[in-house]
Every structure is written in structure tokens, then in C-alpha cells.
Chain length 190, copies 2
């Protein structure tokens, strides 16, 4: 795919329009026609650039995430975790949570969307997290044989999902910081 | 509500029919008419006994869970956790996961269902878990001031949700046992 044909500004504009539409009508009712009309582009261009609605939506979601795990490298594990947490300023989390809930809702009926989410969003973030953890192992912060290393994603997913499920509020920084100190670090043997 | 008017056998029969219907058509398409027809009862009886479709469905779900946290008391924390895990034999988990996914899907559009799930299923299980943890504190197995005590639910939810999200398989006993040893016990300081 020749994604390079678009300028970054034009791409950002397109992604913004997709996210707006997603908030307005949800994944199922979002059409490539609507995206084309909203952004004054042709459907052919959209399909050439992104291949499918699922890929376009997930790349738009990914562009909306201000910081990726691959970009985090503060020099310490605590610093890296805090950077990931401070990325999620409360307002942003609230907004993303609504979007993500809508998407995860749609995933149920759209295997293609699930596939795109996994390949383009979830797996790259997990890969970045594992690189970040490996650096902490290399620095001697985490014991290399810590059996919790492979469960960091599970611990973090639990923090987000259970907070929403039990308390019906998105996790804020204070909550995540406390969870990291109480659960993630002790489990890792930090 | 005079739930006692039904014999336990009749109640089990009704709940079984509700779960069958739920698997067949999903929450949104499930009607009290269909439940009444399937169980040869009147809609008036169903509403008198359960008040609402949401409550009927959640109580049926609850009846389908063979073991509740309130019933677990083996004398040790490890024993209690293993009992909770062994309750989830693989086939049962697989079946329940499909049901639960359907329900959590429906929750998105049905606040009444979310309310019933929280009040009748989630909160009683969390209360039971907290009693179980308090016994472990009283026995001296968990330090009373362990900051991870309030996050055990989050850790367990993470194990289930992330396993499904990342590996797209329901958690089995071997996975849960390993997770408890690698994450939950070290976090609690056991």
C-alpha cells in the first residue's frame, strides 16, 4: 500500500474525521461513503490507502494514542511505567474509553475488526511493552527469571477492565500508580 | 418476591430454559413470552417471581455457576484459590465464556442488565472473595496491610480478560494456577 502518497497533515485530518464519525454513529453504522464525503476524498482512495474499513478505523485509533510503548524509554522501569500512566491524562482516558468500549463492542460481530485490532494495535503495544521490560531485566531491575514477566499485560488489562467493571469509572493516574506499586512491582520482584 | 413458591427443581428447570434461550438467540432477542412458552408458565408468574428479564437472566446465570466464592473454605489460601480454579473445569469455562461474552455484549445497550449483573452476580462474588481473603489475613497467610489486598479482583479479571484478548482462548486451570503463583501470591506477599 502506498500510504506515503498522503501528507502527514492530510492523514491526520482523515483519521480525525474517522474518529469523529466513530463517536457519532459507532463502528457498524460507519461507512466508507461517509468517510469519503466528510473528508472530500474518493472511496477508491480510501480503499487503496487502507484496504478495509477495519484497518482504517484501527489506524485512526492508533493515531489517537499520543504515546506508544515503543516510544517510552526513561532509563528506569518506574519511570517507564509512570510515563505510560501519565500519557493517560484523565480526560483522554475518558474519551478513549468510550471509543474503545464502542470498538470492543463491535469486535463481537466483526472478526475482521478483531484481527485488525490485534495486528495493528494490541500486538505492537505488547511488543513495545516486552522491549521495555527486557531493558529493565538488562539493567538488573527485574530478575530475568521472574515468572510474572509474561503476565504484565494481564495485570495491566485487569487494572483497566476491573476498574471499569466494578467501580464503573475509567482508571486515573492515581489509581494506576497505586496499582503498579501494590501489584505489578511486587509480582515482578522489583 | 415470593420466590419460595417454586420448588428448587422447578426453578432449576426454568433457569435451564432461560440459559438455553440465551445461547440460542442472545439477550436482546430473548423475550419473557419465549421463556413462558418454553417452560409452560405464564408471563405473570415470571414477572411476579423475578421482576424483570434482566433479573431472571442474571439469576439463571448465577444458578449456572457451580461454586460461589462464599462457599469456598478449604482452610488455606492456596487451597481456596485452587478450589475456585478447579471449579472452572475447561469445558464449563468454555461454555460460560460464550454466555458471558454474549451478556457483556448486551450490557453495553442495557443499563438494567448491567445493574442486575453487578448487584446479583459481581458484587456477591467480590464480597465472598473478600471474606476468603480476610480469613487468610486472620490465619496470618497474608500481611494485614498488604496493599494488593484491594486489587485481587483486578488481578483475576486481568487473567481472564487478557487471556481471551491476547491468545483468544479461555483460561484453563494450568494457566490460572501459574498466574496465581506468579502474580497473585507474590503481589499479596504470601
Amino acid at each position: 500500500m502506498a500510504r506515503s502518497r498522503l501528507t502527514p497533515e492530510r492523514e491526520a485530518e482523515l483519521y480525525g474525521a474517522v474518529l469523529d464519525l466513530l463517536r457519532e454513529v459507532g463502528y457498524d453504522a460507519l461507512t466508507m461513503d461517509a468517510v469519503a464525503a466528510r473528508t472530500h476524498s474518493s472511496k477508491a482512495t480510501l480503499y487503496r490507502q487502507w484496504g478495509s474499513k477495519a484497518e482504517l478505523v484501527v489506524r485512526a485509533m492508533r493515531s489517537n494514542k499520543p504515546l506508544h510503548t515503543t516510544q517510552v524509554d526513561t532509563g528506569s522501569l518506574r519511570g517507564d511505567f509512570l510515563a505510560m500512566v501519565s500519557d493517560t491524562d484523565d480526560c483522554q482516558v475518558e474519551k478513549d474509553t468510550a471509543l474503545m468500549r464502542g470498538l470492543f463492542h463491535a469486535v463481537h460481530d466483526n472478526p475482521e475488526l478483531f484481527q485488525a485490532l490485534r495486528e495493528l494495535l494490541i500486538e505492537p503495544e505488547i511488543d513495545g511493552l516486552n522491549v521495555l521490560l527486557q531493558r529493565a531485566v538488562d539493567r538488573g531491575e527485574i530478575p530475568a527469571d521472574s515468572p510474572a514477566l509474561k503476565y504484565v499485560v494481564h495485570m495491566l488489562v485487569g487494572a483497566f477492565a476491573a476498574r471499569q467493571l466494578i467501580e464503573d469509572v475509567p482508571p486515573d493516574q492515581a489509581f494506576l500508580g497505586s496499582y503498579i506499586d501494590a501489584v505489578v512491582f511486587p509480582a515482578l520482584g522489583v
